[in-house]
């Protein structure tokens, strides 16, 4: 019971802190609001064991070594870039080019590939509902991704750029990041092209700025308090496109991988803290 109570207490304190704000908005109040939100975040971070995302990482670890799928094999032969079964530090070097698939893959796309090619899962089944609904736990692939990412905890992002397709993925990601379409005419840059901006009270990182990208990209997969589950990076991007009034972004698509490649490139040298806790 300790964990939910700790979260509840943190949330209540934050709500009180926000409610105590003066009712007359001003520049000074903007600053106060930011501080109150930051206190809330800090309270969530202060007790690392209050992070429910660790339960999903544990589930992911068990799923990784369990024999599963039509082939009834574990994922221990899955090569995440450092050789079959090498998990430690692998996430820090993704996305990268994989010769067996002849494409650049981020962690989630690579896990999708291993679950299909090694375990024999049907790809279209895995693509059907890849992300949890609100309140539902992260799916199995996402739980595995959470565990794998946690095994690069403390490492710094160093995705390779030696292969032309790796450079190309970053460039494609930038073009996609800046590309406007849909009924709201939004691109990623609509919200993430300037420092210090907010939607409602939610702060928006200026993701084209390496300093800001390094602070947040390594947090994903992260436990998200507002939806009470772990959200992977591809789920986060899917959710952004939902907000942008675009159709459903396909899991493992080239758009997903290229955007991750672009963001991780901006965050190069940033520390991996996944699974972090987000609002």
């Amino acid at each position: 019971m300790r964990r939910p109570l700790a979260l509840l207490a943190a949330g209540t304190l934050a709500a009180l802190a926000l409610a105590a704000l003066p009712q007359t908005p001003s520049r000074a109040q903007d600053g106060e609001t930011e501080k109150a939100i930051e206190r809330y975040r800090q309270m969530l971070k202060d007790d690392p064991w209050s992070n429910p995302g660790l339960l999903d990482a544990d589930r992911g670890e068990a799923l990784w070594s369990r024999r599963r799928g039509p082939q009834n094999v574990s994922l221990e032969a899955c090569d995440l870039g450092r050789g079959p079964g090498q998990v430690e530090g692998a996430f820090a070097e993704l996305p990268r080019y994989f010769a067996d698939a002849d494409q650049v893959m981020d962690l989630e796309t690579r896990l999708l590939w291993c679950m299909e090619k090694l375990q024999g899962f049907n790809r279209s089944d895995l693509l059907k509902r890849p992300h949890p609904a609100g309140g539902q736990p992260v799916k199995e692939l996402g739980a595995i991704a959470t565990w794998v990412a946690s095994k690069s905890g403390g490492a710094k992002f160093a995705a390779p750029l030696g292969h032309p397709k790796e450079k190309d993925a970053v460039a494609l990601g930038q073009a996609l990041f800046e590309r406007r379409s849909g009924p709201f005419d939004f691109s990623c840059t609509t919200c993430h092209a300037e420092p210090g901006k907010r939607i409602r009270l939610q702060g928006l990182p200026h993701l084209a700025n390496p300093d800001e990208a390094r602070k947040v990209i390594g947090e994903w997969p992260a436990y998200r308090v507002s939806s009470t589950h772990v959200m992977t990076m591809q789920h986060r991007l899917y959710d952004c496109y939902w907000q942008m009034r675009m159709p459903e972004l396909e899991f493992g698509s080239e758009v997903s991988v290229a955007l991750v490649a672009y963001l991780v490139n901006k965050a190069a040298g940033g520390e991996i803290t996944a699974p972090a806790i987000k609002r």
């Binding site: 704000l21 009712q23 007359t24 908005p25 109040q29 903007d30 609001t33 190309d168 970053v170 460039a171 494609l172 930038q174 073009a175 996609l176 800046e178 590309r179 406007r180 379409s181 849909g182 009924p183 709201f184 005419d185 939004f186 691109s187 840059t189 609509t190 919200c191 092209a193 300037e194 210090g196 901006k197 907010r198 939607i199 409602r200 009270l201 939610q202 928006l204 939902w242 907000q243 009034r245 675009m246 159709p247 459903e248 972004l249 396909e250 698509s253 080239e254 758009v255 997903s256 290229a258």
Partner: protein, 203 residues
């Protein structure tokens, strides 16, 4: 000398572009987008295709050249449809509800259970009462108080909401009228929220 200068400019331009623009073929970007959203129903396909204005804004990181700026504003102004009765002001109370609502056009919003919202508070400060406001757009507190209620001022606000590119090319704000996010009546309600002296925006 002029043709030579132009020829030189043409030679230099692609290299300069390559420095801050990704060397990605635009056609490939579009094909990649199409593939990544392939579950989109046929009537959603237009959402995937940027029009001329969006193409120019994206390619220049929303900083069009002076010539593009002029051309975009002219093109976008031509899309504005005005209220039949010539009245630009609706009901500020309805406008406030619209400004609070982010409902509509998300893929979980079908079949629609509510009218589309304008979600103005997501990006703008508008009233003293609402402290949960975003800062992507400028504060609109006291917007009407500063501008008065002359017909030309009301028309300008209507146009700004209907199509912000008509007055500021490559604005980040959605083209609420042109893109059929909001109806003419809804836009009038938002004009009222901003301009009506009784609206909380102007208190």
């Amino acid at each position: 000398m002029k043709p030579i200068v132009l020829a030189l400019a043409a030679l230099v331009a692609p290299a300069a572009l390559a420095a801050d623009q990704p060397a990605v073929d635009p056609a490939r970007v579009e094909a990649t987008v199409k593939a990544a959203f392939r579950s989109a129903p046929p009537d959603w396909q237009p959402r995937l295709i940027p029009d001329e204005t969006l193409k120019e804004c994206s390619a220049t990181d929303n900083s069009p050249t002076a010539a593009q700026f002029e051309a975009i504003q002219k093109r976008e102004a031509a899309t504005i449809r005005y209220p039949d009765d010539g009245n630009f002001v609706g009901d500020w109370k309805k406008g406030e509800r619209l400004a609070q609502s982010g409902y509509g056009l998300r893929f979980t919003d079908y079949p629609p259970r509510n009218p589309n919202g304008g979600n103005c508070f997501a990006c703008h400060q508008m009233t003293r009462q609402e402290v949960s406001y975003g800062t992507i757009g400028p504060s609109l507190l006291g917007y009407g108080k500063a501008r008065g209620t002359a017909p030309e001022a009301l028309k300008t606000v209507y146009e700004k909401i209907y199509n912000p590119h008509a007055t500021f090319a490559c604005s980040l704000m959605p083209r609420f009228g042109t893109n059929k996010v909001l109806t003419v009546e809804q836009i009038k309600d938002l004009v009222a929220l901003l301009m009506d002296p009784a609206s909380p925006v102007n208190q």
